[in-house]
């Protein structure tokens, strides 16, 4: 077979380096693209910030005085300490919807077809998107932490532990954007991806120890709440931030007894499973 590539004035693309190095550069090119987009549509980032700030204010001032935290009694300030890790964690999981909508839009507009016809590594389109979302999540967390400090929240156990807490939050957020990626590839419109990316987050984040202690829930919900991956990160952060009152009873469930390890394991597991599913879906994606 003659090489068509020798035809005058045409040329095949350079051979990719293949493997991990190409995967990294492709992903970075895609991440850059998504970050440029985010910077040019700042409304999305801004609305993403308003909601958690609203939650901070609503929960701490409306519910704060009425919720009893075991070991600390009923006081608005102790609830604020308790609450903040929950709001942080909920906020990072909301990045799911953004990732899903972004990828659904790319499908819808035919961009995924363009990318799939290029000699790029398979996961790069999705990795690029999730990395860009990670950057956005980090920015959101910074702003939210400042608001939390303003309403009286503090991390009591030093900066390294506080940073470790935020690290776990970012990892959880990153894991959830892979769920978002799978949703985005599975629905027909960006609108469906946004609502599909959000709806299930409400039961997930509310049937947890994020906003109220699990002790007062019916026992079946208590089990769900304590094994909820989301709860593990929340408790790990409370631990690392020193936000739990001294007499707070540790629920009798493995993830609650080892929250940092549980949070890490859950996030890694979610990434492994949903990344594999999303990349597989991407290979056969049709607009």
């Amino acid at each position: 077979m003659t090489a068509t590539t020798e035809t005058v004035s045409t040329a095949t693309a350079p051979r990719g380096r293949g493997g991990a190095a190409q995967s990294v550069t492709d992903s970075l090119v895609m991440a850059k693209r998504n970050l440029i987009r985010m910077a040019r549509i700042p409304e999305v980032v801004i609305f993403g910030l308003i909601q958690p700030i609203m939650f901070v204010v609503l929960f701490s001032y409306v519910f704060g005085g009425s919720i009893t935290i075991p070991g600390a009694g009923t006081s608005a300030s102790s609830y604020r300490e308790f609450l903040m890790a929950g709001i942080f964690a909920q906020t990072v999981t909301f990045a799911t919807a953004g990732a899903g909508a972004g990828i659904a839009e790319d499908m819808h507009k035919g961009l995924i077809d363009r990318f799939r016809s290029l000699p790029m590594t398979r996961g790069a389109v999705l990795t690029g998107r999730t990395l860009a979302d990670l950057v956005q999540t980090a920015l959101t967390l910074v702003v939210l932490a400042v608001v939390a400090l303003l309403v009286g929240w503090r991390a009591h156990d030093g900066i390294p532990k506080a940073l470790a807490g935020f690290g776990l939050l970012l990892l959880l957020g990153y894991a959830f954007t892979w769920i978002g990626a799978l949703i985005g590839l599975s629905v027909r419109t960006p609108e469906a991806a946004t609502s599909g990316g959000l709806i299930w987050l409400f039961p997930l984040t509310f049937i947890s120890v994020a906003f109220v202690p699990s002790q007062n829930m019916p026992s079946f919900l208590q089990h769900i709440a304590e094994w909820n991956p989301f709860s593990a990160t929340v408790v790990a952060c409370r631990d690392l931030f020193g936000n739990l009152p001294p007499g707070y009873p540790v629920p009798d469930a493995w993830p609650m007894e080892h929250p940092v390890l549980a949070s890490l394991l859950w996030s890694v597991l979610i990434i492994a499973v949903f990344r594999a599913l999303a990349v597989r879906k991407y290979r056969s994606a049709t607009a």
């Binding site: 693309a13 350079p14 961009l111």
Partner: protein
């Protein structure tokens, strides 16, 4: 020796719908094949299989001599795809779009930048290079999309309805770009619904319907097969249609799939394939006049795409559901 694009027995089902029913293609190097067909015929599905976007249920395909199913990523280095709707990122500038595509073709950042500048110049987008694609007109987007497909000057190009939705001026200038490209040695597979487009650009035309190639040849050959020219008459009074039909049918050219004269009752329009040009037209007018049939309009028409379809398939182009609608329905 198979050509630059070669497909054999491609079959693809979407649920119960058979989108491709054994498509065979062979496009020699440095030629243009026009894939002509109504919506839903399988044109887009064929392009998606050949550009590695879709796996066929059976059949085989080679592009630039490389097996599409076995080595999709190698094929991707040798092809450019310009889709039905302009696939550019509208929040990126023209320059950023092209640089991104260059880098994803594994060019270095510097090469991608240089190539983007060249293409923007060539496609007359230099002035708009640093504006987001959102602000571009339809024609500009289409040019940007085509430029993106040409970032590496691939030896094999696929264009899926490149001029659909463009105004005549933009269509004209896109045609010129495509001609230039082919003159440079690119092998091109082009899908279109416009016979005129295929006529102008394609060396060979394959007519697809119901997932099969039903006719192949140059545009002249196809037109001849369609019965070449035809006479169209609009009669003034509805009750004279049958008389007029009798006259026209006497002059009808016998063809493979035609039943003489076709009648559109509501517009009182009769159409008949003929051979005989202006002389025959004059004769038909005299005969109609002789019967006292009043005529609103009469003319000798060259074949259109519709005629090709009606003659080859027995149905009009619009009767079909779109490719994507089928895929959608099968999901």
């Amino acid at each position: 020796m198979p050509g630059a694009i070669y497909a054999e027995g491609l079959v693809k089902n979407f649920g119960d719908v058979r989108a491709l029913d054994g498509v065979d293609l062979d496009v020699p190097e440095s030629t243009v094949l026009g894939l002509l067909g109504p919506n839903g015929a399988g044109k887009t599905t064929t392009v998606r299989v050949l550009t590695t976007l879709l796996s066929p249920d059976s059949g085989s395909a080679q592009v630039a001599g490389i097996d599409v199913l076995k080595h999709p990523n190698t094929v991707r280095r040798s092809i450019g795809l310009s889709g039905q709707f302009a696939a550019v990122d509208e929040y990126l500038t023209g320059r950023e779009n092209l640089q991104m595509v260059g880098q994803l073709y594994q060019m270095s950042a510097r090469d991608a930048k240089r190539r983007a500048a060249e293409l923007l110049e060539r496609f007359n987008l230099a002035d708009a290079a640093d504006r987001t694609a959102k602000t571009y007109s339809g024609g500009m987007r289409r040019r940007l999309d085509l430029a993106a497909a040409l970032v590496v000057s691939p030896p094999v190009m696929f264009m899926d309805e490149p001029t659909t939705g463009l105004d005549p001026r933009n269509r004209q200038s896109l045609w010129e770009v495509i001609e230039e490209l082919v003159a440079g040695g690119t092998t091109l597979l082009l899908t279109t619904q416009y016979l005129e487009e295929a006529d102008r650009l394609a060396h060979d035309i394959a007519v697809v319907d119901h997932g099969k190639v039903i006719a192949r040849g140059t545009s002249d050959q196809l037109k001849a097969q369609t019965g070449g020219e035809r006479i169209e008459v609009v009669v003034h009074e509805r009750d004279r249609i049958s008389t007029a039909r009798g006259i026209l049918e006497r002059h009808a050219l016998p063809g493979p799939a035609q039943d003489g004269c076709t009648v559109e009752e509501h517009t009182r329009k009769l159409t008949v394939p003929v051979a005989g040009g202006a002389k025959l037209l004059a004769e038909v007018i005299r005969e109609l006049d002789g019967e006292g049939i009043e005529i609103d309009d009469i003319g000798l028409r060259r074949p259109t795409l519709d005629d090709v379809f009606i003659s080859l398939t027995g149905h009009a182009a619009e009767d079909e559901t779109a490719d994507d609608e089928r895929e959608e329905a099968a999901k």
